[in-house]
């Protein structure tokens, strides 16, 4: 933290120094740079409500914008959400124009026609993971599915079992559900992860106790994109007769998943990560051997009594169509994403002092997380206002808190602060990736020129050897 404070202060100083000297080569048009409200910006940084400079005005000298092009940023945050596929919307529109029946109304044709569509969607969703349609319960999203599984199963078995296991890098909704159970008197083990972001299977096996009820490990990590060894975890869980829940919001349809081969008992799925509508998800719950749980939402007994409430047929049908397209387009999408991800990775890792976070082999290609040393992620994101990126999960991007996932990997604060996540998807184009590589190269260089730490590093000073003075 101390290091960061020093960095920020010095940065501000050198910012002013840089802007006042117009002979620097990267300030292409000194006259134009003089016209920028530099002084205003410098003054406003000391006040409480800092308004981010629109269009990163101060950075204009480094890279003039081409006004013959549009202004909307390139979308590279596919882990946060994906654009809804037009083919999905086409399916959904039927339900907003004609098919408005309640799928649970069993006495008339309006109910029957929507029910038929809902069941079709259920089959498509199940097909992706080799499940039976009856094992799919529709929810409002993966957060609800995670809550349902993590709270529901231990609560049902609470008279005999009191322990659950999860990992430190899980999504916030899994961790918070687990915390909630701790308040109810359950024991929770949070497994640490290695530097590559993967859990240690031996540690998992050791952590399992006689009263362990549930193991919850995610498929693909939302921040660093590593794939956990689900098959091995499933095998360990089956051997020890423990239920295995996996949060596959980021993995569903993007990596091959088969619930029977992987011995998965419960799987959380999200619709809006697979080009479907927002506000819909599903939980796969194994029927043989049966997984029993206390429902969170009770009422009319819809969805096998596990999730009462009328389904939203437009969302469910859109979700189903998105799942159908996932199977249909699997190879086409996979090859495209792999090609773009490799291009992006080689392009960005060619910048010196950059690190790819997470395992290099066990990863989903569509999520590339890179740390740029000697730069603050937030300032890079500000400079990259023409690319929609995130420094981690959307849940924590509002605060300046460094990513807990990168922390769990053993990255220090500075490196965790300088990480950026690139999400590539079905609709990303090669042109966009080329633009991003070029823009990042330019702006990383520019920001590093401002950084006193970078200057020191260039002079050959080992930053770890410096004793920073306190205030």
């Amino acid at each position: 933290m101390l290091r960061n404070t020093v960095l920020r202060q010095n940065c501000r100083l050198s910012f002013k120094r840089l802007l006042s000297s117009s002979h620097k080569p990267w300030l292409a048009a000194p006259a134009a740079a003089d016209k920028q409200p530099i002084v205003d910006l410098g003054a406003s940084t000391s006040t409480a409500n800092i308004v981010p400079p629109t269009g990163a005005a101060i950075l204009k000298g480094g890279f003039a914008k081409d006004t013959t092009y549009g202004t909307r940023p390139i979308y590279l945050d596919m882990q946060a959400t994906t654009p809804t596929d037009p083919r999905v919307l086409d399916k959904m529109l039927q339900f907003y124009t004609g098919l408005y029946g309640n799928p649970h109304s069993s006495t008339h044709a309006y109910g029957w026609e929507t029910e038929k569509e809902v069941e079709k969607a259920r089959k498509y969703v199940a097909d992706v993971i080799g499940a039976d349609p009856k094992e799919i319960v529709f929810t409002s999203g993966a957060t609800e599915s995670n809550n349902m599984a993590i709270k529901g199963v231990p609560r049902f078995y609470k008279s005999t079992k009191k322990h659950i296991i999860t990992a430190q890098t899980e999504h916030k909704c899994v961790l918070n559900s687990a915390r909630h159970l701790q308040d109810e008197g359950f024991d929770v083990t949070y497994l640490p992860v290695g530097e590559d972001g993967l859990i240690d299977l031996e540690q998992l096996e050791k952590a399992i106790r006689k009263d362990t009820c549930l193991v919850s490990i995610m498929g693909v990590n939302n921040e660093i994109g590593v794939i956990q060894p689900l098959e091995e975890i499933g095998r360990i869980c089956k051997k020890n007769k423990v239920f295995f829940h996996t949060d596959c919001a980021q993995a569903y349809g993007k990596i091959p998943l088969d619930v029977n081969k992987l011995n998965i008992d419960m799987m959380s799925i999200s619709s809006h990560k697979i080009y479907g509508p927002k506000g819909c998800g599903a939980l796969y719950i194994r029927r043989r051997p049966r997984v029993r749980m206390d429902p969170i939402i009770t009422g009319g007994g819809q969805e096998r009594g596990l999730r009462s409430g009328t389904l939203a047929p437009p969302l469910v049908a859109g979700f189903g169509e998105a799942a159908r397209l996932l199977i249909q387009e699997y190879d086409f999408d996979k090859n495209h994403i792999e090609y773009l991800a490799n291009k992006l990775k080689t392009g960005l890792l060619s910048i010196e002092d950059t690190i790819l976070n997470g395992s290099a082999d066990h990863r989903f290609n569509g999520c590339v997380n890179i740390s740029f040393a000697y730069i603050e992620g937030e300032s890079l994101l500000m400079a990259l206002n023409d690319i929609a990126l995130s420094s981690g999960s959307a849940c924590t991007s509002a605060s300046l808190e460094p990513s807990y996932v990168l922390h769990a990997l053993g990255a220090d604060d500075a490196l965790a602060h300088s990480s950026i996540r690139f999400g590539i998807g079905r609709f990303t184009t090669e042109e966009e990736i080329d633009y991003v590589i070029n823009a990042i190269h330019k702006r990383v260089n520019f920001l590093r020129e401002l950084s006193p730490l970078w200057e020191m590093k260039q002079e050959g000073i080992d930053l770890n050897s410096i004793e920073w003075s306190g205030h």
Partner: protein
């Protein structure tokens, strides 16, 4: 145009297949959204090129009918896309359709 949006039960002629191909490309080009436009252009080209290698009659008919179904969706969605305008992205030249240059 209308005959192109109907499914067939006999082997479609070369002109018919090419007509469908061009219509699908034209519909893809109509998308206002850059990413959707580029995706459907890429996808349509890929599918038709891949299906050029089909030799069995029933497979060709099935592929053609499938494309007809996709074409109707594409046509509708392209029209909807034209109704809602958003700013162009930073890789798109203003007032020009970038995909058109490639044709």
């Amino acid at each position: 145009m209308s005959s192109l949006s109907k499914s067939v039960s006999t082997l479609p002629s070369r002109t018919k297949v090419l007509g469908l191909y061009h219509n699908m490309l034209r519909s893809s080009l109509k998308f206002d959204n850059y990413n959707f436009r580029e995706y459907f252009l890429r996808k349509t080209r890929y599918e038709f090129r891949k299906n050029m290698e089909l030799t069995e009659e029933d497979k060709i008919i099935a592929a053609y009918n499938d494309a007809v179904k996709q074409f109707t969706v594409l046509k509708r969605q392209a029209t909807i896309s034209e109704m809602y305008h958003f700013d162009k992205t930073v890789v798109e030249p203003q007032g020009k359709v970038s995909g058109a240059e490639k044709n």
